[in-house]
Subunit: 214 residues, 2 copies
Amino acid sequence: MSYVAERREEEKERRRHEIIEAAESLYAQKGWDAVTMDQVARKARLSRALLYVYFKDKEDLLFAITERALGELRRRFESAAAGHELGLDKVTAIGRAYVLFQQETPFQFDACSRYHAHQAHQGMPNEVACNAGGDAVMAVMVEALVRGIADGSIRKDVGDPLRVCVMLWAFSHGLIQIAINKSQEIARHGIEMAGLIEEGRAMLRYMLAAPGTA
Amino acid sequence: MSYVAERREEEKERRRHEIIEAAESLYAQKGWDAVTMDQVARKARLSRALLYVYFKDKEDLLFAITERALGELRRRFESAAAGHELGLDKVTAIGRAYVLFQQETPFQFDACSRYHAHQAHQGMPNEVACNAGGDAVMAVMVEALVRGIADGSIRKDVGDPLRVCVMLWAFSHGLIQIAINKSQEIARHGIEMAGLIEEGRAMLRYMLAAPGTA
DNA sequence: GCCGTCGTTGACATGTTGTCAATTACTATA
DNA sequence: TATAGTAATTGACAACATGTCAACGACGGC
């Protein structure tokens, strides 16, 4: 390929990035449903029609955002796990990191929620990338689980690590989501969010811990 | 009030019901996002404009549907709990009922998902009704939990029943949702949905069970 | 038989999405 | 440098949804 084609490829990638960043900024600001393609286009300083050259759909654009979010999540999980030796502690740290992820970039957590809630149609290019991203996230958790089973901090009879991983993700996600969205409603019953989440994490730890582990 | 006013009130209520039923039917058929107010109107055999006399919004209509769903859920939970003596068994049965609820009327489960995922704005009339419905559902679970703690089938140190209830709902919901929506994706890793959910319920039971309980 | 109220609707204004033909910019080649 | 060809970019359009309103019609009360 010629120099030009290469440069063009780069510029295209950069442009793609700019679009995603514009969309993310608006997403963070007003929530995905309230974001229009027109606003994204204006923020990225290009015409609305051009967006459809880079992304098939508004949904496709969302998938791209979600992919980035999952990448960020994997990075956080890795560094959280790296800070501990015992497998069970790694898992606990990952749970904490997930909560932090929600607190620091709520829109990325929201993107994950939508990804979880929306069932896969058929292979949109960016959706496949999302699935890969999700697998990468789970790989980190699975590694921590395997480690924990090996070092004796997690019950041996807990079951297949991959299954447990899916379960943990589902549990944690469900709890954080409800704690966030229904915080007002829950507060009316005298429950504060932070405590609820903390207790949830304790539950999950109890669930995994080998008997006799502190 | 005159006879007439009373009759009118009844007809209004009936009409309201018809609208909701029309909407539910379409919801079940094609998913909420694909349902248009025009389709609902046509199915209920009235003009689109009239819908807005009965419901402020499309969202308001969704709240009405969700309220019905939560009512149905409470009914199922009650009859599930009634079939067992031990508190722990009641809780487990409720979990099973939730799965069944999803399988038999997926759209109602979907409505619950949206309700959980969407954070409360401010008091729309039907949204308040939803919150009440949610509380009623939880009351059934809380009763089972209290019973279990009293009869010794559930660990005494499990914590405040209401908190545990919220947690259980969040966990179960999260798991079922992921199992449903990502079943294909999960299957690619050799995990089948039914087993995953079953194992999840076992986990939750382990989490609650008093040591020494079968 | 007339009036007023309530139910009902057609038509409208607004806003959003996705597409296409047409225009512009840019590169390679003679 | 002029020109032909290719890629980038856009304005304008069609389709469709939502929510609102003024107007119309039916029905009970007087």
